[in-house]
Amino acid sequence: MSALFDAVLLALLITTAVTIARARDLVTAVVVFGLYGLLLSLVWQHRGAPDVAITEAAIGSGVTTVLFLVAVTRTARTERR
């Protein structure tokens, strides 16, 4: 059962990473990056690493996502080409 959960998590991780690569709108890319951080935090917890899970949830979905969002607001909103 936990192997199935594992497989679904990993498939979702790869799907979100490909979505980040393909998104033209940078705000979309950053928001999906926040989701990627949250999925990663679940992976850490499933691997028996609660310290890393707390840090990743706070930094990956918190600080880094907001940093990106602020940078996108200050520069360009869409990717050309």
């Binding site: 990473a17 690569a21 691997r47 690493a49 360009a76 080409r81």
Partner: protein
């Protein structure tokens, strides 16, 4: 955790690393490049922590509730350090990108190459 002769978890993290690498190399937008860098870093962290895992093990905190076997604490400590360094790196890169946009008006590498 599944095993058909190759380790599927490691394979997934390798593919994730390649997705990040593609974003860094092939995208022209600077913010996309930094996003790709983050994806690469998290793929490496995932590989490190997964290598320290033992099937059915408890987190490496020795209280009355946990018992042997324990997950390996060494990769987790390394990855904690790595996550903090990754966010510092991202912050420096984004500060530079904001400055570039203020100076040149664009953050696409193709257009920056032709700027005076």
């Amino acid at each position: 955790m599944l095993l058909f002769g190759i380790d599927l978890d490691y394979l997934a993290f390798g593919v994730l690393f390649c997705v990040g690498l593609y974003m860094v190399v092939a995208k022209s937008n600077l913010i996309k490049k930094v996003l790709g860098l983050n994806v690469m870093q998290t793929a490496v962290f995932a590989l490190l922590v997964t290598s320290g895992m033992i099937d059915g093990a408890d987190p490496p905190v020795r209280t009355e509730a946990t018992s042997a076997p324990f997950a390996n604490p060494l990769p987790q400590a390394m990855v904690l350090t790595g996550i903090v360094v990754a966010v510092a790196l991202t912050a420096v890169a984004l500060a530079l990108i904001v400055q570039i946009h203020a100076d040149y008006g664009t953050i696409e590498v193709d257009e920056l190459k032709e700027a005076p």
